[in-house]
Symmetry: C2
Subunit: 167 residues, 2 copies
DNA sequence: GATAATCTTGACTAATTTGCTTGGGAATGT
DNA sequence: ACATTCCCAAGCAAATTAGTCAAGATTATC
């Protein structure tokens, strides 16, 4: 289990896709601009995401990428391990051909933790993240009712259209 | 939150210290040999661990390092963030001065996840890892009573000293 | 006090990974 | 045809990892 900025980019891009689900294929150029990631780097990441069928692609004009499954069926752990995919085999591979028992034991302790983290991340779906965020925003608004919501509350002051009620 | 081999080395070394708790100070040379990490690299890692008082040091002959607190008071998240300690400030720092709202939103989603992972790791102590490992080993032995336990069950076959009963 | 063991610090370096660029394709809607 | 998009591979600069080397500081022991 590894967790670096590379994985963050991948998860961020997948979240971007999730947020635009239903708008048809999303081009990498769009994601690149929105998330501030270089287009070619995204291409590399999506090449790996596609191999794991975490995304589906449509070529040609009007083409782009969309989620390979529903946002509630794609888990953060999958996304991260898709782009990490290293042939590392951590020194003491298999954890049973060590030099001495002591070393094996500590390695077991680590791999135990690693498995825990991985299991944890494989329970969090993209949908979960979006849901929790939505919940949190509502909670924040209730906690700070006086606080300015730049670009949002202005319109509700100008007219009582209430187009934010459902958001 | 970052999770790399660097953090793994740090956690592994701390686990090594935990396993030898009560034997007085442990030298880095010992850890280096047992865990297969270079001495100088350990020195760098322990320099940071010491600054966070996760370890205590004793100089001179017979000196070495020991845990700064009890193994049940040191959490994996602390150890990892101690050695990562980067001045990164992820592009969109503070998450509130972004170019557009869209980008901010996705970054919030990521930082939400990052906080979750961090919170998770900060609940797992070194003691927890050792305990769970011990529990798992017992469970394994009960699940596979016939299976050879190399280096362990031989002695119990030879004599009935039962020195493993308490382990 | 001399000596050896050990931590402490800093500068330097090789190897690897990240993040990106460039330059070409291949597919496909218009 | 043409523009738009995915696809792919080579290469490359910057950062990070992992390690070496060298010089000290502290302290137990002889």
């Amino acid at each position: 289990m590894k967790l670096t900025t590379k994985g963050r980019y991948a998860v961020t891009a997948m979240l971007d896709l999730s947020l635009h689900y239903g708008e048809g294929p999303i081009t990498l150029a769009d994601i690149a601009q929105r998330q501030g990631i270089s287009l070619s780097y995204l291409e590399q990441l999506f090449s790996r995401l596609r191999k794991r069928s975490l995304v589906a692609s449509v070529r040609g004009p009007g083409g782009g990428y969309s989620l390979g499954r529903g946002a509630d069926e794609i888990f953060v752990g999958e996304v991260i391990s898709a782009v990490d995919e290293n042939i590392d085999t951590t020194r003491c591979n298999g954890a049973h051909n060590c030099q001495n028992n002591e070393r094996c034991l500590t390695h077991d302790l680590w791999s135990d933790l690693s498995n825990q983290i991985y299991g944890y991340l494989n329970k969090i779906s993209l949908q979960d993240l979006m849901d929790r965020q939505a919940v949190r925003e509502v909670a924040d608004r209730q906690d700070h009712p006086n606080q300015e919501q730049p670009g949002l509350d202005v319109s509700s002051l100008v007219d009582g259209s209430g187009d934010l009620a459902g958001a």
